[in-house]
Symmetry: C2
Subunit: 193 residues, 2 copies
DNA sequence: GCGCGTGATGTCTCACTGTGTCATCACTGC
DNA sequence: GCAGTGATGACACAGTGAGACATCACGCGC
């Protein structure tokens, strides 16, 4: 229930993104952001755990969303197939819901600190996915590795999608990346039997 | 060429690890570390970029070491096979060279901040590996994904190796993890053709 | 043997971050 | 109206990372 100027949180996020794009993440202080938004540093801390966090709004929901999608996949599918279906489904939703993805991506790519944080967010996704895949019958180590591969595929697809603004839909990139990976892994897989 | 008490850098690392193990990473300040080592905070900054860095000595060499191992693999091997061979080879060397791995691992596992930093280090490995795999004939996207999978396999193997002190050799865990992964991916791979 | 330069370390200082505590203000419901 | 509640501001403090400069120990040439 916002009372003052609407939605301090959104204003902070907007200001942050704008300033980061303009000067680069490292050259912007929290005070710069709050001044720009007409608020104080203390208020910033109430909405975001730290300076990096202002760029990762809603990411705490991603693990639940993705694993739910995998859980909801056709029960006849094995773990790996369910994983792919779930990723593609999530990508379709995400592509519409998350605004400013390309801008955010550019800022994150420009700072080691931010890339580290992003990786941390994906670890949460990996953990949740591994748990879900175990529940769908994968072995312990297999579930972990499958989850890790799934996240890698997701990130590769996400990168291409944001880099090609007028390219294909997000889910298309997912199946493409997965095909490319299994192709590259085929020599090892075949030798296995 | 150190002149005073031998090797300030090593003393700082030792002190840091000891204190982190004793009280936990978050509850130790840089001043605590330097006091313990008989040095000053300013000197700490000269050896390490930040507080986390004191736990990641030598990690900047890892990308070069691993990619060199992949480059050195039998030229007859394809990218994926060379990757596995290189990882196993590096693991064998690493297992002997890096001291205190289990302790370090325990500390890192106890702090989100440190886990993030570790992920960042592995990104450098992934980048170097992707470049090497491209040189060995993998496609752009395929090289990236293969590298990512390689790092995942490496980390899974590393985790098991440090968790089972009297278990098998590090390289054994690598081939085990790779086999498990290709097994889990088989359904997708088969459907591909 | 001696001073000199070089490099490692210490001292001092400052900007920035993250956080606790308390005051203040705007709106809600009575 | 008026008390209460919740968002925001003001102030303070510990911790970090970094610049500028002083200082000290060693190795070398004379």
């Amino acid at each position: 229930m916002p009372r003052w100027e609407p939605s301090a949180e959104d204003r902070l996020r907007e200001s942050a993104l704008a300033l980061f794009l303009e000067r680069g993440y490292e050259n912007v202080t929290v005070t710069d952001i709050t001044d720009h938004a007409g608020l104080t540093r203390r208020t910033f801390s109430r909405y975001f755990a730290d300076k990096r966090d202002v760029l990762f709004a809603g990411s705490e929901r991603l693990p639940a969303v993705i694993s739910q999608a995998v859980r909801d996949a056709d029960p006849a599918l094995g773990p790996a197939e369910a994983l792919l279906a779930g990723l593609a489904g999530t990508a379709a939703i995400l592509a519409k819901q998350v605004p400013r993805s390309p801008e955010r991506r550019r800022v994150v790519a420009g700072s080691t600190e931010l890339r580290e944080r992003e990786l941390g967010k994906f670890v949460a996704v990996t953990d949740a996915l591994a748990e879900t895949l175990r529940a769908r019958g994968a072995t312990d180590v297999g579930a972990r590795l499958l989850a890790e591969v799934g996240v890698a595929v997701f990130r590769a697809a996400f990168a291409r999608w944001t880099e090609e603004p007028d390219g294909a839909d997000f889910p298309v990139y997912i199946t493409e990346a997965a095909a490319e990976l299994t192709g590259a892994l085929a020599p090892i897989a075949d030798q296995r039997k």
